[in-house]
Symmetry: C2
Subunit: 479 residues, 2 copies
């Protein structure tokens, strides 16, 4: 139903004398609500501008054929909401103009690739969904009384305790529960740690070159100045760190994020010696330290000097990135600085924290890791074998641990961009190495291939597709 | 088993000539692991300091009665971890000193009160646990393929869409999905919004006085300068905001967080007019806008001017604070600034976001809110009645909406601190009003009482205990 209401006021922005404004009033769902909706819409659209006097409640009620009280209630509601205001003499006018917001440009939507081998995630289909759900049910049924209440800045004590035990057992990390902080992923951890270091006057952060570009962005956004330090087959160049003006360094000792190297023993000692001598802090990103295949995992660097090394771990590789669960073990001297930049309440779900604590305590987490380790080892071997067979010129590096490989091929053949373009054309998604370098690309061509990512049932197809790509882009045999 | 190993080096920090160091070696769980553990411990404790030469593998193997290969493997592992280093000539020495960190002072543990009436949380026992768990199960079974993958900076699109519909329906909020950002609670939202406003040059944030102190702390920690603006029975003094040098204001229009007032219609218009004229931003904290008892909910201030009002909502009152789920609808012109301070990945669990979207789409959330609204209305009436009966001099204010009341009593009787001390002595936890004031307390004595918090079965006992307290602290009748 629509009602033509004569409005004697400025309409549509400028004064035009008395005009008719069509209020399209839909009375389904209540007459009064219908009147309110119609007036709100007219005011937002600018059909009724500020100052426009409304018809008297009697007149509008008559026009609409509704009880006058209904119109009075509608006007009152809109007055309470600030759309209308009641003038002395009982006249009701439009109180403020409301405009519909223009939608911001939406991000371009890209179609999902048929073969997703991007680095950074495990096989999501291997997530222990049943165990997670039943742990959640038991937390909600038998968990602490405050399981659903606010969480303190550092997170749930149950998870602190479980992590202290687990990290000591699995990674050699030495921690007291008071040193543990729970984060919503490593992004969140790096941002908070960077701010905390700034609080202590440490603003220059050395980072691995090549390294993950979004780590650099997070540190820079949080106010840190990033210094690039070269990485080779022994990991980060500790001597270069020592002579830089950095007062902190973020390293990936268990498996360098891009080249896959393990930080060399001597350099481990050199880093903590530098930290001890200069008062700097070493931030250890142990993102996939649990997933080592060919030998016993190397213990965390943190164990060498818990006073100087801030340890960061995550469930993104061991369980799933979508959980957004990470943790840090903060040197005692820095706990205060970290707490000073944490909000009063942890942003991480109390339930999720209790579920993870439950899975760790019940050794479900360890069992899952053992299964994952052998599954990914088999995958990695198959991946290397398929490439050896079909694209013998290709080298597969950095596969002693983790979920992705650095794939390289002889110089003088196809370039990195060429291979990436062809991959995209074939619906194969891999991770470019170019952006991993600080500044311009200054290393051999390569790709990061997340062999860990495809669901188990689809591994063969994905590996074959990638091997065919590389076979077509590289010489038939190693030069 | 223990083995006394003669070590010819500096031990315990200073050179003392050859001494015996007891390596307490526990071989359960593997001989090699036992040797590694014992050496790590000795190095960490400082019993073995840097440079200390270790016995030859042959000698230690003989001392321990194990195969020499076992000792060789143990030394190799500790060299790889950086605890030992292999010198030319085959001598192995302690490579770096590791010290056990001193535990930082742990927070004092306070016993839970027998009667918890603190403000800020709903009845946690009313959480729809069954619905939440089954929604999670269906998300894991039938949800999007990337349900467990990384989440973009603003959160899951499914939740953006669900919130746009819900907020338009329930709160009159006008939004496009591109304007919605998911946060890990309101703390997180305020911190990000403050940083985003700073990016746009807006650093001075007006806040309600009285208001929640931790909101002020979050804004200040995020780099905002806080300006106190008085609040009265009409909500924040919009005229005072307009004459301040603030370029943003955080308000609680639906129900002022402390006094419980609804922002007066005229002041709503004045705030958006000020924002329009001065380029300032109004941040609307709609923390419990859904829980209104005596009349139809007042629509969100955001609807008055979606270009100038940044809307913040939360699941902390409608579901539970422990979920750490909040959301913002950002004016189109500010979306870029907000995105510029967000990390690459949302810190909020992808699963939790999908579950909430599912509950909203399936109207489970609305049903829960309807049940909650009538339950809390009954509670509120009982709370007021119990106090009327037993402590007639007490006024119960700000109960038209929300989960807590402002309880006041005649001046000249017991002071706020006195009542709080007696409450604590009786094991009754309530929320002090004193800290809500910017600077020194400059209002009438009062307490915030979270009548919504006790579990349903315990409401009577909790209300009686509080009424008895107030009866003992106030005159038998209103003066």
């Amino acid at each position: 139903m629509g009602a033509v209401v004569q409005l004697p006021g400025p309409v549509g922005g400028q004064f035009t004398g008395p005009v008719d404004v069509l209020l399209d009033i839909d009375l389904t769902g209540g007459r009064r609500q219908g009147i309110e909706r119609a007036l709100r819409a007219a005011i937002r659209d600018g059909r009724l501008v500020a100052g426009t006097p409304l018809p008297s409640t009697r007149a509008l009620a008559a026009d609409l054929g509704v009880a006058r009280g209904t119109v009075v209630d509608a006007y009152d509601q809109l007055v309470a909401e600030g759309f209308l205001s009641a003038r002395a003499g009982g006249r009701t006018v439009v109180a403020a103009a409301a405009r519909r917001p223009a939608a911001p440009p939406s991000a371009p939507v890209s179609a999902a690739p048929q073969v997703d081998l991007t680095a950074g995630a495990p096989d999501l289909s291997s997530f222990p969904a049943h165990e997670w759900v039943s742990a959640l049910r038991s937390v909600l049924r038998d968990g602490p009384a405050d399981a659903l209440d606010y969480v303190g800045p550092r997170g749930r004590p149950e998870l602190h305790a479980a992590l202290v035990d687990y990290l000591a057992r699995a990674r050699g990390v030495m921690a007291e529960p008071e040193q543990v902080v729970v984060f919503g992923g490593v992004d969140h951890a790096f941002a908070v740690v960077t701010r905390a270091l700034a609080v202590t006057g440490r603003r220059t952060v050395a980072m691995e070159d090549p390294g993950l570009p979004f780590h650099r962005r997070i540190v820079a956004d949080a106010g840190g100045e990033v210094v690039a330090v070269p990485v080779d087959e022994g990991g980060i160049d500790a001597a270069a760190v020592a002579v830089s003006d950095a007062d902190a360094v973020i390293v990936t000792p268990a498996r360098q994020a891009v080249l896959g190297a393990t930080l060399a023993p001597g350099r481990r000692g050199d880093l903590v010696a530098w930290a001890l001598a200069s008062g700097a802090v070493v931030v250890e990103d142990d993102y996939d330290g649990e997933l080592r295949y060919d030998r016993q995992p190397i213990g965390a660097l943190q164990a060498l000097d818990p006073e100087r090394v801030l340890y960061v771990g995550t469930a993104s590789k061991s369980l799933a990135p979508g959980l957004r669960l990470a943790w840090a073990v903060v040197p005692p001297a820095l706990v205060g600085a970290v707490e000073s930049v944490l909000p009063p309440h942890s942003p991480v779900s109390s339930l999720d924290q209790l579920v993870l604590a439950d899975l760790i305590r019940g050794h479900v987490f360890d069992r899952h890791l053992r299964r994952a380790r052998s599954a990914y080892r088999r995958r990695r071997d198959r991946f290397a074998a398929v490439l050896r067979d079909r694209a013998p010129a290709v080298q597969v590096e950095g596969v002693a641990a983790g979920l992705h490989a650095l794939v390289r091929w002889p110089a003088g053949t196809a370039g990195e961009d060429e291979v990436l373009a062809e991959a995209t054309a074939r619906g194969i998604a891999v991770t470019a190495v170019g952006p991993m370098w600080h500044g311009p690309h200054h290393g051999a061509d390569g790709l990061l291939v997340g062999y860990g990512r495809p669901p188990a049932h689809d591994v063969r197809r994905c590996f074959d597709a990638f091997a065919d790509l590389m076979a077509d882009m590289t010489p038939p045999r190693r030069p």
